[in-house]
Symmetry: D3
Subunit: 158 residues, 6 copies
């Protein structure tokens, strides 16, 4: 029967033993969106001009956030990260965030990709909250993962 792997039969939390898993190249892509106002997007576009750090702050927060995943998520394994990219795209009233993480290790990197997206989203909110206190983070989700025993999984989005 299906069970949550992160708790044992008695319900106690554990870091699942992955010693026996193969070291393989793994990749995960996650995405999310910060919903805000057209006014804020206008400010972000303006600040993205030289030498505007507005989006850079969020991009770097996302990359550094990916590295902090095992510190933040209690049962996550500390693993090597071999490559991280975070892309931010300005839309009319939203900032789309996409993070891609690669490793050659024993577990997948979905949590690292999701943490990169969430952290970048929080950094965007931090920057715009004085202008738009109602800004929100939406749809933080895995788009794709590949590598490892379970193989490729791709989100079904139309």
């Amino acid at each position: 029967m299906t069970e949550l792997t992160h708790v044992d039969d008695s319900g106690a939390a554990r870091m699942v033993d992955v010693t026996a898993k193969d070291v393989t190249v793994r990749r995960a892509v996650a995405a999310g969106t910060v919903r805000t106002t057209p006014e804020v997007i206008g400010l972000l576009r303006r600040e993205a001009l030289p030498k505007g750090d507005a989006l850079g702050v969020a991009r770097i927060a996302g990359i550094m956030g990916a590295k902090r995943t095992p510190d933040l998520i209690p049962l996550c394994h500390p693993i090597a990260l071999h490559g991280v990219t975070v892309e931010l795209t300005l839309r009319d009233d939203a900032v789309d965030i996409e993070a891609s993480v690669r490793t050659a290790d024993r577990t997948g990197v979905e949590m690292e990709a999701l943490t990169a997206v969430a952290t970048a989203g929080l950094a965007v909110i931090d920057m715009v909250k004085a202008v738009d206190p109602a800004a929100s983070i939406e749809a933080v989700r895995v788009l794709l993962k590949e590598g490892g025993k379970t193989g490729r999984w791709e989100r079904n989005e139309r």
Copy 2:
């Protein structure tokens, strides 16, 4: 004219000087939702039985996440946190998360409350991702903040 406070006139990122702001009691409440499947909610309900840590892991991740906010969000001030609660509510196909943070310091604690919600949400995803790889975090947003010069702000939600 309205401007992003976290970048200077040239667009360079900075941690805004708050030395002159008053130390006042401040509170922020934020919320969010992990959208998943009824099957996962059933597993979480079962694991929440004694001695089930499933929701406890997320609650604790949220509280600890609030404390890590200045490490994660590049331009956030390190501030004292005087009280943090994180509540998780199981619904039919979702886990609602609400975090409340209090301090007596020079800046508000919205970012800490939002980071608590996002971190708790990521911890929930980590626990359920083997069963529901499509689980997502939705609507991470501030519900309420009070204290400080700008005073009380409450989200308009029906």
Copy 3:
């Protein structure tokens, strides 16, 4: 002659070079005890009822503490952790803690297992200190280690 490996001939601290050591599966088990009062044990039993996080907080603190070992212990190598469990057992006037850590890396994981026990013990103390300020942590020790060149070592306890 026997020498402390973590200091060189002049007595200067160093992180010992393990580049030449083999990557092998290694395991360590450590244990310890929080000594407190029957009254506190009664409270912990009660709080361990749904949705009681009392012991869960300590278990999670232990698992996360294991991951922070190289940040805490100056000369410890940062290594991969492939599995961590922390068990807490309530006795009449004490909480027994046992941690088991596994890896496939170049050094043993005794320090990670001991740090998990100590951190879980500190988290228990934190929870009970208002009721029992005299609670103490006792007998934090390695029970077993295996893997690596020195092979299996088991504590001689009757």
Copy 4:
């Protein structure tokens, strides 16, 4: 009736709100012992000669550990630390550790003093474990605390 303050009525973990508590000078002293062999004590004495870092590593680990307390203990408040000392005393077959921590803040610093002792103890173990794998940490306990509403508490030890 007596209750654990770190969990609410339903048993959920929380960081207790201390906003209303006074900022007062507070101090805590904690102690503990690493039990080992006379051979190891001999090595430590020798390495404590110039420029021997053996005990210095543990002292510094203890001071830095005190600063990491809120990162390690899930429900601990992040607080200002205004002074930390860690003393190590070599005995025939043991290393006594005593830590003293001072602050002017809203909560006591027992956990910081205990964490300093535990971390210093772990650092000693790390240094001697190749020679004495059976070394253990004993009697990590608060000796004294003062300041705050509950006032002075001193351990009753003969």
Copy 5:
């Protein structure tokens, strides 16, 4: 007689007790230089064009580094930081870095300003090291500090 304040009479390291010091507004400005080649400066100028993060990475690393000071410098007090700016100026064959840190707390913030400069400098080196492995960090120093009992100190530079 003049003595090092961070060690006691026996030479043991300690975090000096500052409980009795006044909370006053304090500021420190530090500076340093990354010496590299005109070719690298050309690349940095080009990457500083939209949406170039090259200098932004260093600026943000400096701001975040300031916040990590008490984690990095063993005997530094954890203190509130109320404002941090990091400026990078491209010269012909060098990048000048200047950091300014403000607080209202019990100790000065020279170490935070110096750590910001050093971290920003390391981040610059990281970015250019593939092109110029000989790049170096020079003259990391305090330019100015003010506030606190010792008052204003300004570096004598011609």
Copy 6:
């Protein structure tokens, strides 16, 4: 044409993907100097007597700083460190620092060696700043690196 590898074609920061690089033994040696006064050097010599931690604090700060490199330098890969040494040499009016770092991983360890030197240098400054507020860190640079595809590189210093 030569380009900065840490930003993509549009100038966005990224953690470069090293999944395809070979795991090889790599070493880096870096150095730097804290310039201060003969009076301070006299104090350091005196405090380096038993049980003087003065130089030990800097040595340990350097070793621990090397482990924190990926937390500090935004685009650095988290990698295994297999050995770290930090040497401090007292000269007439300066403290020379040399750090050597070894690993068997996919990227070089220059940044870890440089971070060790910079952190040790900051720790020295912290200890002497009350006596010599003008102390500075000079010439933080790579002396040697070997291993990996680019092979051995040695600084040309006379």
